[in-house]
């Protein structure tokens, strides 16, 4: 029997003690601990690495603290466009989606695409239609509203600037 392990991240950037209050610091650490231990319990009970990473990411998507799922940021139009992916190291199968709205847990849709479609990446309304046909949970726009993210967006809404969620503003760069 192999030794099990799981690691998670909730985003990288200009995250310093100066820009996190003690309460925020505590809240982030609690959310990370809950997610990583939920995933590790799956492994300890003999569950698959796929199930473990999916559950850990669902926990992070359900938290408003991180830029995914209900903590997603606002687009130029004031909407939420989400992307996700999952990949199995044993079979090299993968499922991914880009630019979906109203999907409560995008990582679950990635898993469904991996297991039930003949494709790797689905996008936009087609991915949403696939989610509907496999009974994935949708959520109204209000579910994705977060005051902090809205304020971040309000600062740049009327400009051409786009921002990483944890990094100070950048000049736009079009490759």
């Amino acid at each position: 029997m192999h030794k099990t392990a799981i690691a998670i991240h909730g985003g990288a950037g200009t995250i310093t003690q100066a820009n996190l209050s003690p309460e925020q610091d505590k809240a982030y650490r609690a959310a990370l601990k809950k997610a990583v231990e939920a995933g590790h319990q799956v492994l300890e009970r003999g569950g698959s690495a796929l199930d473990a990473v999916e559950l850990a990411v669902v926990h992070l998507e359900d938290s408003p603290l991180f830029n995914a799922g209900r903590g997603s940021v606002f687009t130029k139009e004031g909407k939420h466009e989400m992307d996700a992916a999952i990949m199995c190291g044993k079979t090299l199968e993968a499922g991914a989606l880009a630019g979906v709205r109203s999907i409560k847990n995008p990582v679950k849709l990635a898993r469904a695409i991996m297991e039930h479609s003949d494709h790797v990446i689905l996008s936009g309304y087609g991915a949403e239609e696939f989610a509907l046909s496999y009974g994935l949970e949708f959520a109204p726009e209000a579910y994705f509203f977060d005051k902090y993210r809205y304020e971040q967006w309000s600062e740049v809404r009327d400009s051409d600037i786009f921002m990483l969620d944890h990094t100070a503003q950048r000049d736009e760069k079009f490759g």
Binding site: V36, V53, N67, A85, S159, L164
Partner: protein
């Protein structure tokens, strides 16, 4: 962006990444998260990886697959491969961010070139690690 990598009792690895994109983004811009080999990759021969940061750079540098290739073709350890890509290659052309990675033998790497990364890990029989700053 959030992500997870894991290895189970059979020694299989897996990776998952999910993101809400960039604030104020337009034109249906897509980052590295859904691009297999850039933001998300898993291979039992090498490792599972999930990335976070400025997606355009992770796409152009094919970051996740690059780490796996350094292990597969040059015999790098997980930590060395991650540091080579994140702390050298990515920095060279201005890519900010980080990644998490795990091998079938349960080695874990949490490497980033930014000021912080929300991260946690847990291995059999070890305490949970939770960290934010460098």
């Amino acid at each position: 962006t959030v992500g997870a990598v894991a290895v189970d009792q059979e020694g299989n690895v897996a990776s998952a990444t999910s993101t809400g994109g960039m604030t104020n983004k337009r034109y249906n811009r897509i980052g590295d998260t859904p691009i297999i080999g850039s933001g998300t990759y898993a291979n039992n021969q090498t490792c599972a990886i999930s990335c976070t940061g400025h997606g355009e750079f992770f796409i152009r540098a094919v970051v996740a697959y690059d780490v796996s290739c350094l292990m597969e073709y040059k015999g790098y350890t997980l930590q060395k491969a991650c540091e080579e890509v994140v702390l050298k290659k990515l920095v060279k052309f201005g890519g900010e961010g980080g990644l998490i990675a795990v091998t079938p033998s349960a080695e874990v790497a949490l490497v980033f070139n930014s000021e912080g990364m929300y991260r946690a890990s847990k291995s059999t029989g070890e305490e949970t690690l939770v960290a934010i700053y460098k």
